[in-house]
């Protein structure tokens, strides 16, 4: 399955959820679920702002609203691939960032969700960038974070 998506998973975020794969998959695709978690802390994503046209070429749009000051952050993406209940791929035309969500059934109603962000930013597209970033960019960032005030 991995051969159907570009192998440019430079930044990955993984979490295991205590829920069956089909349900986690639906959460990432259905506005009624997305509205509950799409905005990070302190940010809401009202149901009526979420547009999901779940097919390749269909839109995935949201407006995240800052709870404290009401600022609005529209996001706009287009689905590239949807394979229930395994994989959702969308790309953001403005930034070129491609996000791949992979759902892995761990058994016992547990599901691993992995988010991979590729082509972000465009410089990532070079083979050199892919090789260098493959696993270590976020660790590199974490390392420099730790160095903190020394620069």
């Amino acid at each position: 399955m991995a051969d159907r998506t570009p192998d440019t998973g430079e930044l990955t975020y993984t979490r295991v959820f205590d829920a069956p794969r089909a349900l986690v998959f639906r959460c990432m695709l259905e506005p009624e679920h997305l509205t509950h978690f799409w905005g990070p802390a302190g940010v809401s994503t009202p149901l009526e702002t979420i547009k999901v046209d779940a097919r390749p070429g269909g839109v995935f749009e949201t407006v995240m609203v800052n709870d404290s000051d009401g600022s609005r952050y529209p996001t706009r993406a287009v689905y590239v691939e949807i394979v229930a209940p395994e994989r959702i791929v969308w790309t953001e035309p403005d930034s070129g960032v491609t996000t791949t969500s992979t759902f892995r059934d761990l058994g016992g109603e547990r599901t691993e969700l992995q988010i991979r962000q590729a082509n972000a930013p465009a410089g990532y597209r070079s083979p050199e960038a892919r090789a260098g970033f493959a696993t270590s960019l976020d660790r590199f960032a974490a390392y420099l974070e730790k160095l903190g005030g020394s620069r």
Partner: protein, 132 residues
């Protein structure tokens, strides 16, 4: 694409190489000469210089004109722009995951006759309002 985006692209491209990341990590601890930077690597000085030029071009490092040693200096602001992009993304996804976890808990706590024993998520009763 804006100038800032181009800059960010160049920064990420520069950071895509493990040797260059190591150089940046070293410079995060303080300025260093080319010789000092080359020491930990099995590389010729011209090899290191090539990497330094890439880092210099995107503005990540600067080299003073004084003396032949020309110590390299890390431009923290340029690096911070790239790092904050990564950090911001990481934060957003972590918080989304936290909320999703909570949402899934709510769903599975909600009374639904079809919930138990059904491995396909099936239908569920949405719990009113309360999520963090």
């Amino acid at each position: 694409m804006t100038v800032a985006d181009d800059r960010l692209d160049a920064t990420f491209t520069a950071l895509a190489d493990p040797t260059r990341r190591a150089i940046v990590a070293r410079l995060a601890r303080g300025d260093a000469t080319v010789n000092e930077l080359a020491a930990p690597f099995d590389m010729t000085l011209p090899g290191i210089s090539k990497h330094l030029k890439v880092l210099e071009r995107c503005g990540l490092i600067s080299r003073t004109r004084r003396a032949q040693f020309r110590p390299c200096h890390l431009e923290g602001d340029v690096l911070d722009t790239a790092l904050s992009w990564i950090e911001e993304n990481r934060r957003v996804w972590k918080e989304r995951f936290d909320k999703l976890d909570e949402h899934l808990r709510d769903l599975r706590r909600a009374p639904s006759p079809r919930r138990k024993g059904s491995n396909q998520a099936g239908r569920f009763t949405r719990k009113g309002g309360a999520d963090g």
